[in-house]
Symmetry: C2
Subunit: 280 residues, 2 copies
């Protein structure tokens, strides 16, 4: 009778980053399975230790931190200005994004009390800062933020409850140049992230309605784009043309580093820079 690794063996090998081909191997007898597990775990522990040693002795910066710095520098170099806003936002800001109790996103929000929550996206703060800047600054205006957002997700292989968003927006893009600008900005970011394998695809967002997604070769969502004038703009007293893109940084790394789970490059106390810390 043929058997697979036990669930706990699979979990251990998964956290150590062992490839799927090996995880799904079958064995004729228990002894063979146990020996293979012991040998595979030992080798994987060695590889994770080597990765941690390299980080501590040489590179010193996890890929997630390096990526933030690279994206910041690339965007500032193209005239985008960085902003940095609070993680705790008001319920009224969410309502302005139409995230009230009828919106599926509402259930994913972490609430601190009835009036404040952890931002599930960067957009409300960017709208708020932009509205104020536009009272004194001439368009076009390019701004971006990189920061943590929070959603109660099922925490699968492609979702995190805390994830790092990059949201960029250009206000005042000429209407006929919006698609072209979206492509240009997507290329700017993905080039800085050292990702070349992507394409644009139509999707339907619960917040923004129909639009374009940027997806990896295998079809994983890397970013979603939006453009205005948009029905949401009125709540922020904004009435100009614009384009915006939101990227999930851990998604970008998962894709670039060809990893099967999103946790290895996330903000974590179990993983550091793609390596598992449980290597005792």
């Amino acid at each position: 009778m043929s058997m697979e690794f036990t669930e706990s063996q699979k979990n251990r090998l998964t956290e150590l980053g062992v490839r799927n081909e090996i995880l799904t191997r079958t064995f004729d007898e228990t002894k063979e399975r146990e020996q293979t597990f012991a040998r595979t775990e030992k080798m994987a522990v060695k590889e994770n230790k080597a990765a941690l040693s390299h980080l501590l002795a040489n590179s010193h910066k996890p890929a997630l931190c390096q990526l933030q710095q690279d994206l910041t520098d690339a965007l500032c170099g193209e005239g985008f200005t960085q902003v940095t806003t609070p993680i705790i936002i008001s319920a009224s800001k969410l309502e302005k994004m139409t995230i009230d109790k009828t919106n599926p996103l509402h259930e994913q929000v972490f609430w601190l009390d009835s009036k404040s929550c952890l931002r599930p996206m960067l957009a409300p703060n960017l709208y708020e800062v932009s509205r104020q800047l536009m009272t004194s600054i001439k368009l076009p205006l390019r701004i971006f933020e990189i920061g943590s957002c929070f959603r109660k997700e099922s925490e699968g292989n492609a979702h995190l409850k805390e994830f790092t968003m990059l949201n960029l927006v250009e206000w005042g893009t000429p209407e006929e140049k919006r698609s072209e600008s979206l492509k240009e900005f997507a290329e700017l970011v993905l080039k800085a992230a050292r990702i070349s394998d992507y394409r644009l695809e139509e999707e339907d967002s619960v917040v923004y309605g129909p639009g374009l997604d940027i997806v990896s070769g295998e079809g994983m969502e890397l970013a979603s784009t939006s453009m205005g004038p948009h029905p949401l703009d009125a709540a922020w007293k904004i009435n100009c043309t614009w384009v915006g893109i939101g990227f999930g940084l851990e998604r970008l790394l998962m894709h670039r580093e060809k990893q099967s789970g999103i946790h290895r490059h996330s903000k974590s106390t179990v993983f550091l820079d793609g390596a598992c810390l449980k290597v005792k």
Copy 2:
């Protein structure tokens, strides 16, 4: 009869960053006060607009973001490795820091539910990551994190509910070199932050007990230091000598930029890079 600016006038001039000497001026009559207010506000609005224009046209990076990058580069250059960990932590991690209901800090914690909260400090995650690294890495080990922490503060001029901490630690510092290393690391960080006006002072922390604070010339706390072996170490199964320092980045900027309030350089939708966004 002599009169001061009204409270709302004072608040408006304060958010515009008008200096204290002007805020406390007295007037003989209402007309003189109103004219002075109008003139002062107009000038201050102009200055804030100029600062925003400069950011958007030239520097593109708020001081808080630039400081994070400068500190990261300086620390990585001296062999410190950056880590990046979750903002949401478990109640049990806080208990390991002795922050239970008898500790004054407990009331300042933002709770999401009975088991999880927003980290009020970086230390518990740094302990957790370090404990695991030490199972495979030889000492000394230098690591640091820069990230948001959250405390329900009275939100005065020197406190923020969301603030940006830098916490660095060296595990395995020779016992007799601990004070010397603390001074060396403080100097490294404060030099990278372009701050020269500081001194060390004794204090008594609710978490770490007696220790050394790093304070500005005017006596404002810029950082607090700690060293081990320490009673807290046992909960994390750590038993080696160590030194650590925690800096508040907004405090560093408030001191360096000689500003009277801490909000101007904080993560905000009212201020951006030290300038007030309400300049209409």
